[in-house]
Structure formats: structure tokens, C-alpha cells
């Protein structure tokens, strides 16, 4: 746009690449949120705090042992799985049959508790995990850069989503999760323990959030104040992509990333958030079940 040949095209190409990478990261952050909503019908407002839990764990592991944040995704996922399982089994399960407002309030409370605990433990300062490949980029034609850290994060996002799809479609545990989500009564008759399966699902979602947090820590900055923003992104990505399809969150994340990135190029930069929510409103008006989702009850029948 500044007059040099092809500048505008290169800029748009760069915005597209960056938006897609950012979108994969949004997708990774959102996939657990979407899973819990789709299967348990719980809108987990503490999801962003789980993501931050993973980020701080990765930060501590890097600080203490010099562990690469992408390697730390595994321990972060394990710890968060345990935490998520416990929270669902002994807390959320108590009210999981209550109207959705009760679980909303409960998870909102959990979020406040978690954020303030993080502030006490780690202070409100902004952090970022320094890595050797921070700032290293592959250079494409037209000086379009593909940041290496974000590329790894995007690949892991796609890989983890694929693994989740495999788990829910091809394994006994996954099928039990889906079955319980579809019809708890019938699942019980098949000797599936609903309380255990719900806890397993919530734990799985927390584990994915923890892994996402480690990736966020590797490529971006984070502070306890980001919990709300991360939950909001997850919410938008989950609704955009649609529930009941494990690829939905990734698709929604990609749309969100692209819309923000293109919006940032074509409009004044302060409007990016407005553009993202405008996209959400438009999609909901045209396809209320989301881009890849199924209409509400059907969404509870198959993943």
C-alpha cells in the first residue's frame, strides 16, 4: 500500500499466513471448551484459567529445568487432567443436572478463584517463555514470514485435534464419552459410569487447555488478567465452528484468526475485536448451529 510493487499483495499474504497460524492457536485453546460444552452441556467459564495454569506450569518448568515449552505441553496436560478430573468429579457433577445458569455461575466463581490464586502465586506481571527459536521465521516469496514457533504450535493444534477425533471415534473410552453425552440413561444401562465419564471428559478438556497454555506461553505473552480473554476467544471459536464436531473448534479458530488478521489490514487496527464479533453474529444469524456443527440435539448424537 505504500507504493512499492506488490506491497499490498504481500501484505495481504502475510496477514493471511499470520491469521491462519494465530487461528490454529485459537483452535487449540478452544477445543477443550468445545468438548465440554458439546458433551456435558457445561459452558466452562474457567477454561481460560486452565489455559493459564498450563502456561505458568510450562514457565516454571522452563525456569527450573530449562524444559522447552512444547515439551512441557505433556506434563502440563497431565497435571491439568488430574485437576480437571477432580473438579468435575467432586464439584461440577453435583450441579451438572441443574439449569445451565448454575454451572455458568459455578465455573465463573472458579475462574475468579483461579485468577486470584495465580496473581498471588505469580503476581500480575506479564510473562513470556524465552525459547531459542523465538523470532526465527521461514521466509517465503515476497518476504512473507512464517514464524517457526507459531508453525510448531499450529502443527500441534492440528495433531491434537486429530488425536481427539481418533479417541472419540475409535476407542472404547471415547465412545463411552459420546454415548453418555447422547443419552445418559441408556449409557448407564450399558454399565457406563456417568460420573466417571463426565469427569474423564472434563479432565481431557483441561488437559487440552493445559497443552494449549504451554503453546501460548511459547509464542506469546500471558498474565492472569488474560483468563477472561482466552475464555472469550474459546467461546467465539466454539460457537463459530459449531458444537458436536471435534474439528469445529479448529475451524472456528481459523475463521476468527483470519477475520482478525484481514480486519486489521483493511480497517483501523482498533476495530479488530468488533470485526471478530460481527463475524460471530453473522454466522449465528445464517447458520445457528455454527459452521461445522449440527443442530443442537443432533450435535449430541455424533462427534
Amino acid at each position: 500500500m505504500a507504493g512499492d510493487e506488490g506491497g499490498g499483495v504481500n501484505q495481504l499474504a502475510q496477514a493471511t499466513v499470520y491469521g491462519l497460524l494465530q487461528g490454529c492457536l485459537f483452535g487449540l485453546v478452544a477445543v477443550g471448551f468445545s468438548l465440554v460444552w458439546g458433551v456435558l452441556n457445561v459452558v466452562n467459564l474457567a477454561h481460560g484459567a486452565f489455559v493459564l495454569g498450563g502456561a505458568y506450569l510450562a514457565w516454571e518448568l522452563h525456569d527450573a529445568f530449562g524444559l522447552d515449552p512444547f515439551v512441557s505441553m505433556l506434563p502440563a496436560a497431565v497435571v491439568l487432567f488430574g485437576l480437571g478430573y477432580a473438579i468435575q468429579r467432586w464439584l461440577v457433577n453435583l450441579v451438572v443436572n441443574a439449569p445451565i445458569f448454575i454451572t455458568l455461575l459455578l465455573t465463573f466463581g472458579l475462574q475468579l478463584l483461579a485468577v486470584n490464586t495465580l496473581i498471588l502465586l505469580f503476581t500480575a506481571n506479564y510473562r513470556s517463555i524465552p525459547t531459542g527459536y523465538t523470532g526465527i521465521s521461514l521466509v517465503l516469496a515476497g518476504d512473507v514470514r512464517v514464524p517457526l514457533g507459531r508453525l510448531i504450535a499450529a502443527a500441534l493444534a492440528i495433531g491434537l485435534t486429530a488425536a481427539l477425533v481418533y479417541l472419540t471415534r475409535r476407542t472404547r473410552t471415547g465412545l463411552a464419552i459420546l454415548a453418555t453425552g447422547m443419552d445418559r440413561g441408556a449409557a448407564r444401562l450399558m454399565s457406563i459410569k456417568a460420573a466417571h465419564v463426565y469427569a474423564l471428559t472434563f479432565g481431557l478438556a483441561a488437559a487440552l487447555a493445559g497443552a494449549a497454555g504451554a503453546a501460548v506461553g511459547a509464542v506469546g505473552t500471558f498474565s492472569p488478567a488474560d483468563a477472561g480473554r482466552l475464555t472469550l476467544f474459546s467461546f467465539v471459536a466454539a460457537v463459530l465452528g459449531g458444537l458436536g464436531n471435534m474439528w469445529g473448534a479448529l475451524l472456528g479458530g481459523l475463521v476468527l484468526g483470519l477475520v482478525e488478521s484481514w480486519g486489521g489490514q483493511l480497517l483501523p487496527g482498533t476495530l479488530v475485536n468488533a470485526v471478530a464479533f460481527a463475524a460471530l453474529v453473522i454466522v449465528l444469524a445464517i447458520r445457528p448451529q455454527g459452521l461445522a456443527g449440527r443442530a443442537f440435539y443432533a450435535s449430541r448424537l455424533e462427534a
Binding site: M1, A2, D4, G7, N10, Q11, Q14, A15, Y18, Q22, V43, L45, I100, F101, L104, L105, F108, T123, A124, N125, Y126, R127, S128, P130, T134, G135, S137, V139, D143, R145, P147, G149, R150, G220, T221, F222, S223, A225, D226, G228, T231, L232, F235, V239, E260, S261, G263, G264, Q265, P268, G269, T270, V272, N273, L284, P288, A295, F296, Y297
Partner: protein, 411 residues
């Protein structure tokens, strides 16, 4: 089913917007003979809690130093300084109400809250009640464009934050800088900073090739950087807070945006988090600050800036003061000096003494113009060298020479 989805969306929006907080406890009281009571509404909880507590530390240092030296001399007697705190929970409205509460209890002399938004709210109430406020951290020029007579800011105005860096670059950079681009957060304070920086750049003959605004507090500034990249500025100046400041340096590297001179970012680089988060990438980045331990000037209460740093460190387990603490102490000092000069705690007389104040202090000169701003004091420009911010401008405070170009061009 669709209704249910929309209902959920609505509830989530309401819950996200619900900012809960409680007001500070009641307390405080009017000045009796042996004491000088000063009120302060501060953000001790909420989103500005970190800076609010740093500000309180500065006020506390002032109180203990003044009292250790016998108290404030008022017309032949000495009064112990007592600062009463109330928590405004980072909400401007609450700050205004607390100022009213102080007034109801007869507390007429006040120290400012943290930040421009809360200070602006407090200043309006101070004006109505005829109280007097020494502002320690509200730098937005908008506060002083309303004709208020009762609020005095010890710190350099917002327009100087970026302008001082522009001046430093023009004075010191070799090879000379010709073009600059601005990336600014979209809050009132940051926009004022950017306007001041652009005016200074144009006045000094630089070409401003970009002016991009990003949402306040964002961690993704890739859009602004992508737009600026083809315009090849020599320097990118960020009018930002910590989050955006870190994002600019980090994402510029990812996107191959390599200004031939370097980066300059107002308040982010002087904070320890900046170098911690960025590691070696932070090297060479310029920043501006209200105060460093090398600031020129001294006073009878705190000595030189270096002495103040030692006093502060002795009180807080060896921790060095950030500029938040120093500017808070300076605001308190301004009130103490004014009360002494007025020989009275009467708000009208103290106000008159503040308006006529012209003192050298550890914080630099304290002298207010007719709007209540301290334009005599210069901002200082720091550069990250060896992982630490060191002062490079102005000459009378600088610790090291400017390293230029600040960043090597990336491949």
C-alpha cells in the same frame, strides 16, 4: 434451541462484564493539633493494584522520612504526617466518592490516586470541594485542560513521554534518523502521548511514515506491524503499556520488521518484566521514565535521587524503587513543602503555596504552571544495555552513551 444458544451468549456477556469490587473501609479523621492528616484514594485492589501498591510504598516512604526527621514544620510547631488510605478498587467513580468522604471528614489535603482515569475523576470532585490534591501519576494532559485550580501534578505531562525519546534520538543518534512510525494503544493517555510525539517529530524535521492504533492491552500487534513494514521507518516508536510493548518487539522479529535504527517504547522498557519476558531481544530498546536514581537535583528531606533510592531500599528489603514510588514520594513532598511554606494547613493557603512553589528536589524541579502541570522537569530516556535500563538522556543525568543503531538489521 436457538434461543438457548443466544441466552447463553447473553449470560456469558453479562458475567464477563460484571466487575465486582468492594469499597474501602471507613476511616480517617480531621487534623488535630499534633498531626497533619492527608487523604489518599488508591487502587489497592482491581486491575491497577500492582501500580497502586507501588504508589502507596512511595507515600509510605515520605511519611516515615518526614516523621523521622521530626515532622512537618507548621508555623513554629512540628506536626506528624499521617496518610489515610482508602481503596478505590481501580474504579474512577469510586475514587471520586472517596474524595467526597475525605471532605466530609474535614480532610482537605489529598494525594492523588494511581493512573490518569482515576485522577481525572478525583480532580473534578477535589475542585468542587475546594480540596487540594498533589497528583503523583495522572499524566494525561486532558486532566489539566479543564481549568482546574486545585490539582497539581509533580510529573512531566503525557505529551513528553514520546517527545523526549524523539528529542533524544535526534540529539544523539548517529547515523541520523529520518523517518519514524508510531504504534499506539487506543486509550486516552497513550493517544495524548502519540500526539505529543508526532508533533515533536514533525517540529524536528522527521517524517512520520506510519501512525497505527491497536486495542489497549492487546498481545497481538501483527496487523499494525504488517502495515508499517513496507514503509521502512528508521525507528518504530510505541506509545504503549507493557503487554503491547513486549508484543511489538517479539512480533516484529517474527515478521521480519527490522527498523534500521531501533525501537523506542514509552513506559514498557524501564520495568523489570520487559527484559525478563524478552531476554536478549530487549537489548537496545529505548524507553522513557519520570525518574531514575541518577535524576539531577536534591532537597533537605530526601537528599539526591541516589540517596532516595537507598532510603527506599532500606525500607523494602533492598528492593530498588521504580519510578512509581519516586513520583508518589515527590507528590507527598510537594504538599509537605507547600504546608511548610504556607505556615498553615488551610487549603486556600496551601493551594497558594503550591502554585508559587519553585524547589529543586530528588525528583528534579517542582514548579507548576498555571494549569497545575510540572513542565520544568524533563523526562529521562533509558536504553536497555546489558539487560538493564540505563539512562542515556538528558546529558545531566545520563549514565552511558546511546548505542546506535540500537538493533542490528535482521537477515
Amino acid at each position: 434451541m436457538r434461543t438457548r444458544m443466544f441466552l447463553t451468549v447473553g449470560v456469558v456477556a453479562v458475567l464477563s462484564a460484571a466487575a465486582c469490587g468492594s469499597k474501602g473501609e471507613a476511616g480517617g479523621g480531621a487534623a488535630d493539633n499534633g498531626t497533619l492528616v492527608i487523604g489518599a484514594s488508591l487502587s489497592l485492589t482491581g486491575k491497577l493494584a500492582r501500580e497502586g501498591i507501588l504508589t502507596r510504598e512511595g507515600y509510605d516512604v515520605c511519611q516515615s522520612v518526614v516523621n523521622d526527621k521530626g515532622g512537618v514544620p507548621v508555623a513554629g510547631s512540628r506536626r506528624q504526617l499521617v496518610i489515610r488510605y482508602q481503596d478505590d478498587t481501580s474504579q474512577p467513580d469510586t475514587a471520586g466518592q472517596l474524595v467526597d468522604q475525605f471532605n466530609d471528614k474535614g480532610v482537605k489535603l489529598l494525594l492523588g490516586p494511581y493512573g490518569s482515569a482515576t485522577t481525572e475523576a478525583a480532580a473534578a470532585v477535589v475542585e468542587r470541594n475546594g480540596q487540594v490534591m498533589a497528583d503523583s501519576s495522572g499524566a494525561d494532559d486532558a486532566i489539566f485542560a479543564k481549568g482546574y485550580r486545585q490539582t497539581f501534578a509533580v510529573l512531566s505531562p503525557a505529551t513528553e513521554y514520546a517527545a523526549s525519546m524523539v528529542q533524544a534520538i535526534v540529539d544523539l543518534a548517529d547515523p541520523k534518523v529520518r523517518t519514524v512510525a508510531f504504534i499506539s494503544a487506543d486509550d486516552g493517555f497513550s493517544k495524548t502521548v502519540t500526539r505529543g510525539g508526532i508533533a515533536k517529530a514533525e517540529q524536528l524535521g522527521l517524517t512520520v511514515v506510519g501512525e497505527e492504533y491497536v486495542p489497549n492491552g492487546t498481545t497481538d500487534v501483527s496487523g499494525a506491524l504488517t502495515k508499517i513494514k513496507p514503509r521502512r521507518p528508521d525507528v518504530i516508536i510505541g506509545s504503549v503499556h507493557l503487554a503491547e510493548g513486549i508484543a511489538i518487539v517479539k512480533q516484529a522479529k517474527e515478521l521480519g520488521v527490522a527498523p534500521s535504527g531501533g525501537f523506542a517504547e514509552t513506559v514498557a522498557p524501564p520495568t523489570p518484566d520487559f527484559t525478563q519476558a524478552l531476554g536478549a531481544t530487549a537489548e537496545g530498546v529505548l524507553g522513557s521514565t519520570q525518574w531514575t536514581p541518577t535524576t539531577a537535583g536534591s532537597d533537605k528531606w530526601f537528599g539526591f535521587a541516589g540517596d532516595y533510592a537507598n532510603t527506599f531500599a532500606a525500607k523494602f528489603n533492598g528492593r530498588q524503587p521504580e519510578y512509581h514510588g519516586a513520583e508518589a514520594t515527590a507528590a507527598c513532598l510537594a504538599l509537605v513543602l507547600a504546608v511548610e511554606k504556607a505556615g498553615s494547613t488551610d487549603p486556600v493557603k496551601v493551594r497558594g503555596a503550591l502554585a508559587g512553589l519553585d524547589e529543586q528536589t530528588f525528583f528534579g524541579p517542582l514548579k507548576f504552571d498555571s494549569s497545575g502541570q510540572n513542565r520544568t522537569k524533563a523526562m529521562q530516556v533509558v536504553q536497555i544495555q546489558g539487560g538493564k535500563p540505563v539512562c542515556v538522556w538528558p546529558a545531566n543525568a545520563s549514565e552511558a552513551a546511546l548505542r546506535w543503531p540500537a538493533t542490528k538489521a535482521a537477515a
